[in-house]
Amino acid sequence: MIIAAIALFSLAAILGLLLFGFVIKGKHTPKALVLTHGPLAIAGIILLVIYCTQNDPDPIDSLILFLIAASGGLILVARDLMGKTIPKWLAAIHGLLAVAGFSLLLMFQFS
């Protein structure tokens, strides 16, 4: 299950990087990427939640970071769909939190 979560987060990360490029350049974000990135990450989080409830020890610190990143992501997508400016700093923090959560998850699984 945790491997599946890592795979989903990896795919989400690739799309996230692409999206970050659009945000940094102040360009329209392709919505197919936005609406694929979010659900992939949410699916990963769901798997992680299930894993945490069924296993001990668990990567709870990673999950917390992903949940905070996800709440930032919700704000980003809402602003994006409403045509409001996407704060670059928020997009950066969202990405950094996700990267941190992903790093902790990899360390949990592979170290």
Binding site: L18, P30, K31, A32, L33, D80, M82, G83
Partner: protein, 530 residues
């Protein structure tokens, strides 16, 4: 085809002109050039907004109507002006979704709307060709005889006068059965609107055209020029609300509907006709045909036939050509029409549960009201809005309030609701990098509009008859969907929620309340023929 060559040369919500707009002077007033304070400000000079203003004005309320075009330059001017209490959705469906009481209230409200129009015409002495006549509902080949039997029972139960006929009066090429509904009506919409506006002015109301409300909230509106109208009540009657982001727009879908006006010799049956809709196209919203006559000259009437609807922005390239051809073919098979003089299209907002949204705006202050979801019965729904919103503002109890409440959600229409919103999500999935209609401007022929991607950004490019390229952003400012070219009306239409823009980006239809950025107009040296 009549283009924008009406007496004033003013654009309506598209490139074509309806029989009304092409033959009647525009109803214009001065633009707003001062700050105002009033009891009620109404945004939108269509039948809904003007009916609300009229009803409030005769009750002594101080009203101000703001319209960005001229009176009825939006979808009201593109109606076929049928006045029916038999809605475009069947009474057996209304009964299933809204219950017996809901269906009865729908019947009562639309019947009263026609009565109100007739009464107002008499009171205000409006000469607008109003006529009472029979309506005939007949089967589309894709439908079954049982649906007429069910409709007969449901309509009677709702309180509608109806008769079974075994033939279709006025159509000899088809055998029955048919349902006959007496006491329906028709009129000339622009003459009626002119009369209502004159009555509003007579009752000390104020009307401003050519005035766009840039900002709308519970305190009033601010125009593009910065003039503020402060009001105790705000009524947004702009076909679809332009101040809402989500609330209503997830509950209704925009459709294009096509109309032809053809010469026909006088002497036949005068009536309204409509079929039950093509269930092979869409089982939920079966597109149907609708027909009426309008006086033309001593020898001829104009037969006005409409239909061949599809979701806005969802057609193929040159979709309108196929739709007009199909409509002409359907009409010629049933009526002895001669030359086609008019072709135009209009926009219908179709609520998931079949009835308009009229009342207090959801998730807003109690003094903000909306009218939307005409559902193909814009004349009566707009008139109902005039009665209902006036009662809400005056604090008078009205038994229709719950039925038309914009806050309602009918679980029995959940399937339709989900389907519509999944369709919006599917549109978003078409927006991915390196995906466009063309990769170079040279691929766009004259009179064509295409989506092009330049450095990761999507643009809409239209090449006009004189080889000028007009380039706008392809991103709808409402919810960021990619717009699509509508060759029939020379507009960029949004397939998500029905916003529409001129070829040079000016907003024609909500929910967007701003223009598409216009980037350039280039005269190309080489003429490319389509």
């Amino acid at each position: 085809m009549k283009k924008n060559d009406n007496p004033d040369g003013i654009k309506t919500s598209g490139d074509t002109l309806s029989v009304w707009s092409a033959t009647t002077p525009s109803i214009k007033y001065e633009p707003l050039t001062k700050h105002l304070k009033t009891d009620v400000v109404i945004i939108g000079g269509g039948i809904a907004g003007v009916s609300v203003a009229y009803n409030l004005a005769i009750q002594g309320k101080k009203v101000v109507v703001i319209e960005d075009g001229y009176i009825a330059s939006g979808e009201t001017g593109r109606t076929t002006a049928h006045l029916v209490n038999v809605l475009d959705d069947r009474y057996y469906d209304l009964e299933r979704i809204h219950g017996d009481e809901g269906a009865s209230l729908a019947a009562e409200s639309h019947t009263q709307a026609i009565d109100f129009i007739e009464r107002t015409i008499a009171t205000e002495n409006i000469d607008c060709d109003f006529t009472r006549l029979n309506g005939y509902l007949f089967l589309h080949p894709s439908d079954k005889k049982e649906s007429l039997e069910k409709e007969y029972l449901a309509a009677r139960k709702a309180g509608i006068k109806v008769e079974n006929l075994n033939h279709i009066p006025g159509i000899t090429s088809e055998s029955g059965p048919c349902l006959s509904f007496p006491g329906q009506g028709q009129f000339h919409i622009l003459k009626y609107m002119k009369g209502l506006c004159e009555a509003i002015i007579k009752h000390k109301g104020e009307i401003y055209t050519g005035t766009h409300a840039r900002q709308i909230d519970s305190t009033g509106i601010v125009t593009d020029q910065g003039y503020k109208v402060t009001a105790d009540h705000v009524v947004v009657a702009t076909n679809t609300p332009v101040q809402d982001q989500f609330a209503i727009h997830t509950k209704q879908t925009a459709y294009r509907t096509y109309v032809i006006g053809a010469k026909i010799k006088k002497g036949g049956t005068k009536a309204l006709w409509w079929d039950t809709g093509d269930f092979d196209v869409d089982k939920d919203v079966a597109p149907y045909h609708y027909v009426r006559l309008q006086e033309m000259d001593e020898a001829h009437n104009i037969l006005i036939a409409g239909g061949e609807d599809h979701v806005t922005g969802k057609g193929e390239t040159n979709e309108e050509i196929h739709r007009y051809a199909a409509l002409e073919s359907w009409t010629r098979a049933r009526f002895p029409i001669e030359e086609i003089i008019y072709r135009w299209s209009g926009q219908v907002m179709e609520p998931a549960d079949s009835l308009a949204f009229i009342g207090r705006n959801p998730m807003d202050k109690d003094n903000v009201y909306i009218v939307t979801g005409d559902s193909g019965n814009g004349m009566t729904h707009g008139t109902i809005a005039g009665i209902l919103i006036t009662d809400l503002i005056l604090g008078v109890e009205n038994s229709w309030e719950k039925l038309y409440s914009p806050s309602r959600f009918s679980f029995k229409s959940t399937g339709h609701y989900i389907k519509n919103n999944m369709s919006v999500i599917a549109e978003y999935f078409k927006d991915y990098p390196m995906h466009a209609d063309v990769s170079d401007f040279s691929e766009i022929k004259t009179t064509e509009g295409k989506i092009i991607e330049i450095k990761g950004e999507k643009f809409g490019a239209y090449r006009d008859e004189e080889n000028h390229l007009h380039v706008v952003s392809a991103i709808c400012p409402h919810m960021q969907c990619i717009v699509k070219w509508n060759g029939g009306e020379k507009s960029w239409d949004c397939p998500c929620h029905g916003s529409r823009f001129t070829y040079d980006g000016k907003v024609l239809n909500g929910p967007a309340n701003g223009d598409l950025p216009y980037y350039l107009s280039i005269k190309q040296p080489k003429i490319i023929q389509s």
